[in-house]
């Protein structure tokens, strides 16, 4: 019984981490059709921002929840202005450019900080479920995922920016005719996506190994999840990360982590074959 509860917690935690990692990519890909291959490096920058500011004496919570998203959001803004804005509507060029960008970011970070980095201790302690111990931080990650989901949903669904953003994504020319400047919307959206990704990097920093190449572990999985989820940002990403996180963690528990990964990939293939528009294209049409 205790074990079942712990296992359930693991599955939820796996899904929550995956959701956090994918949300920023989903915003950028879902709304702008830009495949950001530097996504993993945005996660890495978020982790570095959190760790560096925490080591410099900033409170760890502020470092993770404020510094990391702000910094990566600014980086995103810079990247959008200097690079991505030339590439809208050019899916393949955007891939090439962001792949180059990811190498560039890895190179810059390695040159400045070297190949390893002193991490920060995990805040919060552990607690027991019966005989088993697990960390409060697991629950914290879950809480962050839920809050982020709520915020992004609220912004897209209820604010004027959200309305405009969705309108621009559907038909930029029409929106421009109605007096909206699509350039500003793209800029804000890319920056928002980057900030959300930076936050994910920030909160994962205390439980990860921090290296300049850490982003490589995330990019393929996040990409597969986002495409599997389909166009709707929240419902699509949530359902896909829930499904894949569930399959991956259970697979890893009952077999080995290797087969956990293989099972995740196989289920992604089957899913996309059965639902070519992603989960949300089939079940949550018209949602955010």
């Amino acid at each position: 019984m205790d074990l079942a509860a712990l296992l359930a917690l693991n599955v939820i935690n796996g899904a929550a981490s995956l959701f956090l990692l994918c949300l920023g990519l989903a915003i950028i890909f879902g709304m702008m059709r830009i495949i950001n291959l530097a996504h993993g490096e945005f996660v890495m920058l978020g982790a570095y921002a959190a760790v560096l500011s925490a080591n410099a004496g900033v409170n760890i919570w502020i470092a993770m929840l404020v510094v990391a998203p702000l910094f990566v959001g600014l980086v995103g803004l810079l990247v959008e202005r200097c690079l991505v804005r030339f590439l809208y509507g050019r899916l393949v060029d955007s891939m090439l450019a962001t792949w180059g960008l990811s190498l560039l970011i890895i190179g810059i970070v390695t040159t400045i900080f070297g190949n390893t980095m002193q991490g920060v201790p995990t805040p919060l302690g552990g607690f027991s479920i019966g005989d088993y111990r697990t960390s409060w931080y697991t629950l914290f990650l879950l809480a962050v995922a839920i809050v982020m989901m709520a915020i992004v949903y609220a912004v897209l669904r209820y604010t004027r920016y959200g309305l405009i953003a969705r309108a621009v994504m559907q038909n930029p020319d029409m929106a421009a005719v109605l007096g909206v400047n699509p350039t500003h919307v793209y800029m804000a959206t890319f920056s928002l996506g980057a900030a959300v990704t930076g936050l994910a990097g920030g909160v994962l920093a205390p439980v990860s190994g921090i290296t300049p190449v850490m982003g490589g572990a995330y990019v393929a999985k996040a990409f597969i999840t986002v495409v599997g989820g389909g166009a709707a940002i929240i419902s699509g990403t949530l359902s896909a990360s829930g499904l894949f996180g569930f399959v991956n963690q259970l697979g890893a528990y009952f077999t080995t982590p290797v087969y956990g990964e293989v099972i995740l990939f196989l289920s992604a293939i089957v899913l996309i074959r059965l639902l070519p528009q992603g989960i949300s294209g089939r079940f949550f049409k018209g949602t955010v």
């Binding site: 050019r90 090439l96 960008l101 190179g107």
Partner: protein
Amino acid sequence: MSDTAKLSVQIAAVLVACIAVALMPGYVDLFQLMQFTLFASMAVLALSLGFIWGFGGILCFGQTAFFGLGAYAYAVAAINFGDSTPAILMAIIVPSLFALALGYFVFYGRISDVYLGVITLTVTLILFNVFNSTAGDEYTIGVARLGGFNGMPAVPTFNMPFDPSGILFPEHSWYVTGGVLIAVYVGLRLLLRSRFGRVAVAVRENETRAALLGYDPRVVKLWVFVLGGAIAGLAGALYVNWGAFVGPTIFALSLSAEIIIWICIGGLGTLIGPVVGCFLIQYLVSQIGSQQSFNSNLILGAILVVFVVLLPKGLVPTLRNLILSGWHLVGDARRKGAEAKRNDLAAGQPVGAE
């Protein structure tokens, strides 16, 4: 440029390439020759994706799946048979069958665009995981141990057909690899001029319209995909012949992305573009590692970013446009304006097949 002029330029280019391949060993040292052998085998791989993506409209993120399967099929067969002749055939057959199965799965499910990309990428990741966990003795095919992450070292290289004792020297390997590259190029060129090639381009341009004209886009795409897989598999065999080694990193995401980069840099929708891009980037990457002052990722990343911004269409189309504008400058000035305008409209899309 008229059709005949274009054709004669192409024939001349192929002849020049043949002569260059034939004369190369006399002019460069052994190391450079082996480096060119590697580049040429990678260029065959680049051609395979350049064909299915640029002319079939199939964006495959996982062309390394076929490349790697071809390499492993060659290695396993060569170790077992001790003769490279059937091994090369296996390197073509195994990836073709795999491409047939995968292609049937996706095209008959009417999956296209980025979803297709994700499926092929995922297949590559699965293959990487699977081959990576074959370190134990139980993963042995015949007498060939798959070797897990450490890979399969000391794979027999090419020999004269059906004569295992006639091992090819590096010069001969170069003739084979360079010859295959030219043959594949010419073969694809001819194919594109054939009826099937025109239908494939029609499907790329507009699937629905092609279907309404009585062609089945699924079948057309499937055969384009299988052909691409076969060529990639052959490239895998050439690659193993160069290094006598194959390991699971052949399926890695970085190589898949690199092929896409070669094509983007050289020019999508051309056949010569992927070859040019491949040679250029491979040369660049090996030069970067020889210097010690800057981090290699930093330089390569900066070059790629600058390239996309400055030359979005890729080298070959940009150069061709320049030459064409020069051509028209001599002739009719108005025609030049129209040409430029047409090219502007085509920006960001694959340049049309010729």
